[in-house]
Amino acid sequence: MTLILLIAVPLIAALIVLLPAKNIFRVRLLCAVSLFHASVVASFWWRRPGPELQGYFVLDPLGLLLLSILDLLFLATSFFMIGYFEREHRNNRTFTACILCLLSMTTMVSVSYHLGLMWVAIETTTLFSAPLISFHRNWKSLEATWKYLLVCSVGIALALMGTFFLAIAAHETRTLLLPAILNNAPLLSTSWLKLSVIFLFVGYGCKMGLAPMHSWKPEAYGQATGMVSVLMAGGLTQCSFLALMRVSQICHKTGLGDFYGSILIVAGVLSLVVPAVFLLDEKSLKRSFAFSSVEHVGLLVLGLGMGGVGVFGALFHMINNALAKVVMFLTAGSLAQKYGSSRAPEVRGVIHLYPVTGIFLLVALLAGTGMFPFATFHSELLIINASVISEHYVLAGIIIVCLAVIFMGISRLVLDLVYGKPVEPAPAPRENLFMNITIAAAAALLVGLGLWMPAPLSGLLHEAAALIGA
């Protein structure tokens, strides 16, 4: 019952939140729910619950990893929100309700063992995240919402088609439960499976924001508030990544690993090249972080596609990516709240006015681009290492060049924002404790992971990587 409870509690809380109340009450409820959720998930590290609802809900190492990451994200954002809603007086009823629903649905994604159910959950996350983007309800954010909604809905429709193709491929087993498919892997029809893999990849890749399908990303992340961008870039994209990993599991069992791997590698490389090109001339901080998110999901699929160490690297990168996104987007969010913008001409010389936020911005730059001692450095190194081991030397070269160009692109903008001449007249200088503590905690965690990997985590990562066949 624990898994069902984890899905149901946020939903009930979402209903409570819909009642008339003060903004701060809703945020506190959100904090309490995510704290509860996180503590239950933490207990899973000692003892994982068994399958529930006839095997539709199962928590395996992959799911546990994603679930823990999600809890980190939701905890961080809900604490950040305490600070944020001290200054924001817009009614947050829909906002918190949608976030609670997102918590419930992302939990469902990480524990669902039926591919149809997984599709339903992922599609629902799209629907609940759309109202979050247009929280400020101005023309641009509405347009971004529309773009996000439409592109992702169509993409996810393709994933549905892929799911049905998979059902045809698995017509011998007559079910889409993951264990049934994996155990009867030789019975799957290969040609249909290939077709289904392509559709699933395009569909979930669209939701993930991989390069040819990334067009919604800069718009949506550029317009959403920092907290929403964190949830989307760290949480929702990685939910879709879980779907891609499930596909990978099936492909490895059926000998389509190389076929799927080559698709992933091509998309991954594209997702590195595109942001490298676009970041060279980007004026908005949030948009450039959005392109950085495209880069990071590209790294994830690259690692998954290369197999071996790469899978381990990709799984490790999931955690680091999420933490880096917390640092990056929350900093951008607090900056945007202070200046009312995150674009270069309006924001200048942050370090003179807000020393703490300025430092955070530098930290975000280093964390987001994978510098030592942040853990992103290690996971990126692992992925590059995987490409060298599998003798893709050209690929390794491309990755390194792209990462370097992206570093230049982001640092150009961030250094400009941090050290430029301060804008006049200066906005009222005020730092918020809650916001800063959240960002600092995430950054500290990221550094900690970079210096020392705890044994349970490494055990979980190895267990999860073994599931994918690495």
């Binding site: 599709w119 429709a157 059902a167």
Partner: protein, 216 residues
């Protein structure tokens, strides 16, 4: 009962094609509703005319959601948005029909290469659902109004649904319902966002700042 499913498949494609040739949004919504209605009939013909409870349930839910509520939401949307109800096609209507005919040919040609392993209720299901999906994409791409894009999305969904019906046994009913409900909620959310967009548009128009669609 295969012939009836065949007829419905053909009708679905034909209606998607007429959707492309329609120049009023109201007409498009009506055509979509008719298409969804016919698709809702499909489960009833699936098992040789023996109607089980679950067939009836899926059929009813489909009809109520897709042929009833979705068009109702779209009509509500049209009333609330002070837009003229004519589609603004990028591609002329005549050219759209010809392109649509080509797309149908493409869909049938593709489906020749796809051999279904199991026995399907009707051989026309696969090509027709592919054709419907392609036509839906075309509606979405070549019609610039927001409501018509939603309609295109819904036609794509209808195509997928037609395909899904042939795999009825693989998907448990709750998940099938979940999919249907998700699609309805999607349209609902889209309608709300559209409404917000319209309000914002009206507000900015009165103050003279008038950003263009697509400008960012």
């Amino acid at each position: 009962m295969t012939p009836w499913i065949d007829v419905i498949c053909i009708l679905a494609v034909f209606l998607s094609l007429t959707l492309l040739a329609t120049h009023r949004i109201v007409g498009m919504i009506k055509i979509f509703a008719v298409q969804s209605f016919f698709l809702g009939l499909v489960p009833l013909f699936l098992h040789g005319g023996i109607i089980a409870g679950r067939d009836l349930a899926v059929s009813l839910v489909t009809m109520v959601l897709k042929a009833g509520l979705v068009p109702a939401v779209l009509f509500w949307e049209l009333r609330h948005i002070s837009m003229r109800s004519e589609v603004r096609p990028i591609l002329g209507l005549g050219a759209s029909i010809l392109c649509g005919a080509v797309l149908i040919a493409v869909a049938f040609w593709i489906s020749l290469a796809m051999k279904l392993p199991g026995k399907l209720e009707s051989s026309l299901v696969l090509p027709c659902s592919l054709a419907t999906i392609l036509l839906g994409f075309m509606t979405m791409v070549t019609r610039t109004r927001a409501v018509t894009q939603v309609l295109g999305y819904m036609v794509i969904e209808n195509g997928i649904f037609l395909f899904a019906l042939s795999l009825f046994d693989t998907m448990p009913v709750p998940i099938e319902m979940g999919i249907l409900l998700d699609i309805f909620v999607a349209v609902f959310v889209m309608a709300i966002v559209l409404n917000h967009i319209n309000e914002e548009f009206e507000r900015t128009r009165s103050t003279g700042r008038r950003p263009r669609w697509g400008e960012s």
